[in-house]
Symmetry: C2
Subunit: 249 residues, 2 copies
DNA sequence: CTGGAAAAATAACACATGTAAATTAACTTA
DNA sequence: TAAGTTAATTTACATGTGTTATTTTTCCAG
């Protein structure tokens, strides 16, 4: 069932049958969360490593006066901090944006994998390094890019990440985010997100309809967003990764 | 010589004499960099893990049109990405802000430590997790905080990090950064950094003179910056950490 | 010391984005 | 299918921060 994770890791390195089974076994303990519920809260003691199986979640942090920053989006196949249990308490929260099913991987199992499965361990390290690179790229996004570049950049990133786990269809993918959530992620007001989305639509760079995002010309969107995919470290250029159809129509 | 790193790690866990010696040995290969030179560039193949021994450095990323975002500051005791060699190429650059001495730790030695020294490995994981938490906090900083909160927050963070490695004197520490560098780190223009610094000075929250930062009332600065130190995971409350004198005068 | 470069400070003006409030559209669910 | 709720859109206006250019100060090398 953690096939999205396995698929993602296999972008980096081929795994053996045993490796895959070890990951299957690790993800045995399932749990479901309702839309908008907190999966874990700032201050909590992190007991498990969460692996998103279905649905979207986000990491966020709330300031004392209520301002909220969304720090990352989690999609199927994403691990929430491989070694988080080393810390005494969470410094941020994780919430379900849609109904979510996840696997709670106990520390002991992860430690066993680390001791016994070099390939998997290395692939998990790769995944961790990419997550951190994504966090850095968000810092660049908030610090340097204009509103339209920022949103465009986010859409490019999400599309490529989803394609990496086989969750795109042609040039479109799900995008179950409200404008308020986009605003909290991009450090902009919801009003300005609305304006910016309209500009992106008007220029034909994206289509957004009923929680579905379509990017007619990914290269063009990457260009205006100053998007460079190198930080995703997709070493096998990603051609073969679309589940349903070839990239060009 | 990597005593700053050792001191930092011992905030998290006590190390044995052997552990410390292993770290000493790992840092045998030294290298120096001139002020403003690049230590490693985006696109390079990362061969070593760099450990800053002396001086300040920064991680940065440059957009095609020249805009630059500083992503983190490195001070003595900081490791630049413990497992970076897993990636094929760097997705960002690292530059010396002052003259820098660092140790190039080869992959093989780090792997040996990981296999033989549980304590050190765990402490390095803690350090990695804290670095990532800092990156997240920078995202919050750029996304949600106003100019004055942002700068105040940065100063609180740097002061506490330096205190953790014994590089503060009373309520002051070095701050070898130009206003342009501060601007690139905070996603603000240098003009606005100047305005904001003046406001911080006028209100008596910080004093800045000749590359030295003084924070007369850390609590007050934390308050106006909405600074919550939990993300630094200083589990031993940090009282005893000042090198020269007790925290209160 | 002194000249020259880098850094900091100042000034005037522009504009991207925020705020607040009201309206319309899109879903849910009884 | 209609009520009720949430999300999206629109409008008008305010403001924080950016831009460009100039001046002043600080810092060093010679």
């Amino acid at each position: 069932m953690p096939h999205h994770l396995i698929r993602k890791l296999e972008q980096f390195t081929k795994l053996s049958r045993d490796d895959r089974q070890a990951l299957e076994a690790a993800a045995a303990k399932r749990r479901s969360f309702a839309e908008h519920s907190d999966i874990i809260r700032e201050g909590d003691d992190p007991a498990y490593v969460n692996l998103i199986l279905e649905g979207w979640a986000c990491r966020y942090k709330q300031l004392d006066d209520g301002r909220r920053q969304i720090l990352s989006f989690f999609v199927p196949g994403d691990l929430c901090d491989t070694h988080i249990y080393i810390l005494r308490e969470m410094d941020h929260s994780i919430a379900a944006l849609t109904p979510v099913t996840l696997a709670e991987i106990p520390r002991s199992i992860l430690e066993r994998i680390t001791n016994e499965r070099t390939r998997v361990t290395k692939a998990l390290w790769w995944d961790t390094l990419v997550s951190v690179a994504i966090q850095r790229e968000w810092t660049v996004n908030l610090g340097q890019r204009t509103a339209i570049e920022r949103l465009g950049h986010l859409f490019c990133e999400l599309f490529l990440r989803l394609r990496g786990v086989g969750l795109t269809e042609g040039n479109s993918c799900m995008l179950p985010l409200t404008q308020v959530e986009l605003a909290d992620a991009m450090g902009l007001s919801n009003v300005h997100i609305n304006r910016t989305l309209q500009e992106l639509r008007r220029s034909g760079l994206v289509a957004l309809k009923g929680k579905r995002l379509t990017i007619p010309d990914l290269d063009a969107l990457q260009k205006i967003s100053l998007f460079n995919p190198n930080y995703l470290h997709l070493e096998h250029d990603g051609r073969h990764l679309d589940a349903d159809e070839p990239t060009s129509p």
